[in-house]
């Protein structure tokens, strides 16, 4: 029981991941889909960062009196992944702006209706 609660950050990851995924699948609004996608990606960042933490460990800088260090690698990896995530969001929002210019809407059903008419 205690172990399950002690690993609470993994539960946060799972809840965030499913929330984001649900928004991507269920929402009609293209901006909301992008938000869902960002939440989904962020949950994975949390997963990586949680992994890097070593209990009782400090920042990985060699100093007197410290024996245990956290693993710095996952954090570094996620720095890259965050950049990728920002770029993805930027491209997605750029596309939404262009879609709004062309269709006059960002509701998916409305866009499908216009395409079906054309």
């Amino acid at each position: 029981m205690m172990e399950t609660i002690g690993l609470y950050n993994y539960w946060v990851v799972v809840v965030l991941m499913m929330t984001g995924f649900y928004i991507v699948v269920a929402r009609d609004n293209l901006i909301k889909k992008v938000i869902g996608l960002s939440i989904f990606q962020t949950s994975v960042f949390l997963l990586f960062i949680s992994v890097g933490k070593v209990e009782g460990g400090t920042a990985p800088i060699i100093a007197e009196g410290f024996e245990v260090y956290s693993n710095p690698l996952p954090g570094v990896l996620i720095l890259t992944a965050i950049v990728v995530g920002v770029a993805t969001t930027a491209v997605a929002l750029g596309l939404v702006v262009r879609i709004n210019e062309e269709y006059g809407t960002i509701e998916e059903t409305e866009i499908h209706r216009q395409d079906a008419e054309a």
Partner: protein, 496 residues
Amino acid sequence: MIENHLPILQILVPLIAAPLCLLLRNRVAVTALAIAATWVTFAISVALMATVLQQGPISYELGGWAPPWGIEYRVDILSGFVLVLVSGIGALVATWSPTSISVELPRYERHYLFYCAYLLCLTGLLGIIITGDMFNVFVFLEISALSSYVLISMGQDRRALTAAYSYLIMGTLGATFILIGIGLLYIMTGTLNMADLAVRLQGVIDTRTVIVAFAFLIVGVSLKMALFPLHLWLPNAYAYAPSAVTAFLAATATKVSVYLLLRFFFTVFGYGFAFDRMQLWIFLMPLALIGIVTASLVAVFQNNIKRMLAYSSVAQIGYMVLGISFASVSGLTGGIVHLFNHGLMKCALFLAMGCIVYRCGSVHIDEMRGLGRTMPWTMAAFVAGGLSLIGVPMTVGFISKWYLVKAALEQGLWPVAVLILFSSLLAAVYIWRVVEVAYFEEPSAVEGEGSIREAPLSLLIPMWVLVVAIFYFGVTTKFTAGIAQQAAESLLGVAP
């Protein structure tokens, strides 16, 4: 001295050329730079392939940091083979593109943005192939994906935008799934280097975390390679993107994902885990077969020919995955050789579509009446690509289907062999629809200066290089099938 650094140059040349396009801006200079960079990249990949064939796999330590701590670039026979395909197609399409995009990107005066995204996409695809580091795979995957969303959204039709958007959503989900899989593997082993991972994974192979990682990687890669039923992003993306982009992506992007599937499941997890313990073929083979038949059937009813060829691509991905799911030397050889061969023929077919768009402005089947007479060379190239898609002897398509049918019969799966032949018939049906309209109907009545002429030589020559390659590799199989077989043997671990 420089030849020791070829693996990194393979990535650096297009990567540095891309921002240079933004600085140069001048249309002629940018075009010349892009074409030169892609041909240099192709030359490097040929040199790498030759070295691998003579001396065995090359390992390159990035920045002099020894693996597994540093990032390793690794060229073995399989990655060398796919590098040659991707960079070769990249160079040919870049040479073909200036004439085409002058018509297809009229609203984007800034052609330099096109070439910048194109070179970045090429960088990403080559990077996925050459790297031996799991996290590096994810980064290159996103480089190629982000630039391909931009490239697709440059299409003239406004549906290109929605196609690019849904590709972005699906592609990002797929890449994030791959990232989760990589993360879980890192948790269990503490390493990201593929070769090191393969060794350490064997100690923890029976844990649930590894099995979950395996599942995430399968779904992620299947999304990226548009395996049925995760192919929904592909038809619209290919149909509405500019022709040069379609030809490039159709011949390379999904193939690189198939390569990734091979890398993950044979090199990292190992044949024993993926196929004996997890029984991966039970999952892959039915999906591949359903994909082959349904996508071919849907292709028969398409009136937009680019869309028809896109559905045919989904079916062809099915053939590659089918070959992999046999997990035998001839099956894998068939899958790998089809990866190469399909790249050649689908690129030729989409380039022919691009020539038709250049002259007629549309690839609707009604617009193609009588094109056999007005654009004989373009349509001849289309027929050559089509014959290869069907799998007629003397073309590359025959070679791949030969290996696939052989693999099916070796395992006594004759219904699978029958399905392969049946779907070739479907391919014959959808190719014939175009041939019938183009050769047996009168050209639509347009007189005077508006009449349709043959495409210019700058479009015809790169396209015909591919057509010649289709027949050349259809007769001489030493390079393609020979290398594919060696790659299959090394993946299965039966080679010395």
